[in-house]
Amino acid sequence: MSIIYSIRWRLIYLDGRYLDETLGGSSIMDRKPNPVELQLINLEGRPMQRVDIPVGHRPIFYRQRSISQIPSSEFGETQLDATVFGYGRENGSKVDGKLWIWLGGRAVNCPPEYIAQRSIETQLAK
């Protein structure tokens, strides 16, 4: 499935903190036109071990979460079933920058793109 290589993902930091993991069901999908954004929710310091599975190999599912209901129209495919099963760190401190998804019967390592953000609240003095 060539479509697997068109998927981009974004790891979004909330207010500059790690988004360690939790690929929690439908909440991770930010449904916009391509590229798809996966918003990973911070669970405060629960590092995952690296899951390093070559494409085409049978994955050892790890913290499997489903990305459900990705609109197929965004990919030009009739069916797209993606399951995030690995996102990890090395040595508990470094992000290895890999997100593995189970897509169309294959394990895919998506290239990393971290999107970080920081916010400040504002008020009007009246």
Binding site: Y18, P112, Y114, I115, S119, I120, E121, L124
Partner: protein, 179 residues
């Protein structure tokens, strides 16, 4: 490891004291929390808050490179008669010592912000979800403040009816890529 990043606001002169801010009031004083109000015009026109200068600052270098910095508001202004204006094309800081000159229409004409004494490149602040254009492409590495000075002020026009208290205005958000 992700960089640790804070948002700094510059105040004072000449080069500014850059304090971490998590909340800012649109006021008429050169700080983040003063309550000197922005008066509502009694006839058609817009009064402005002091211009606030911001920059993201990498305080702990996680070894990643920061690129493509954007800034925007999380949601549209919910309070009638208010509008956020911004300018991102300047690299040097100028202390805010007065509010931009009032304009004669209701938040249509952009305010004149410091540096060049014109309102060139002063535009309404867009929604971060837009997303807005990248204002600082980078790449940026290491610690310290990064990118151009982001100057933002709030215009209060004659259609505004709030008074007597502080009024919530949109959250500002910076986004960037780390890789």
């Amino acid at each position: 490891m992700a960089n640790t990043v804070v948002i700094r606001q510059g105040t004072g002169a000449p080069t500014g004291t850059w304090a971490t801010v998590t909340a800012v009031k649109w006021n008429r004083v050169d700080d983040a929390s003063g309550t000197t109000p922005v008066p509502t015009p009694t006839a058609t026109g817009t009064n402005f808050s002091f211009v606030k200068s911001f920059q993201p600052d990498i305080t702990v270098d996680g070894g990643l490179t920061m690129t493509d910095i954007r800034v925007g508001k999380v949601a549209a202004e919910a309070t009638g008669g208010t509008k956020l204006w911004h300018r991102t094309d300047q690299t040097t800081y100028v202390q805010a010592s007065a509010a931009p000159t009032a304009t004669g229409d209701n938040n249509t004409t952009a305010p004149i912000v410091p540096h060049t004494l014109n309102n060139t490149n002063v535009t309404a602040l867009g929604l971060i979800g837009g997303p807005p254009s990248v204002y600082a492409a980078g790449p940026f590495t290491g610690t310290g403040r990064k990118g151009n000075i982001v100057m933002i002020c709030l215009g209060v026009d004659a259609t505004n009816t709030t008074a007597g208290t502080t009024v919530a205005t949109p959250t500002l958000r910076w986004t960037w890529t780390e890789a």
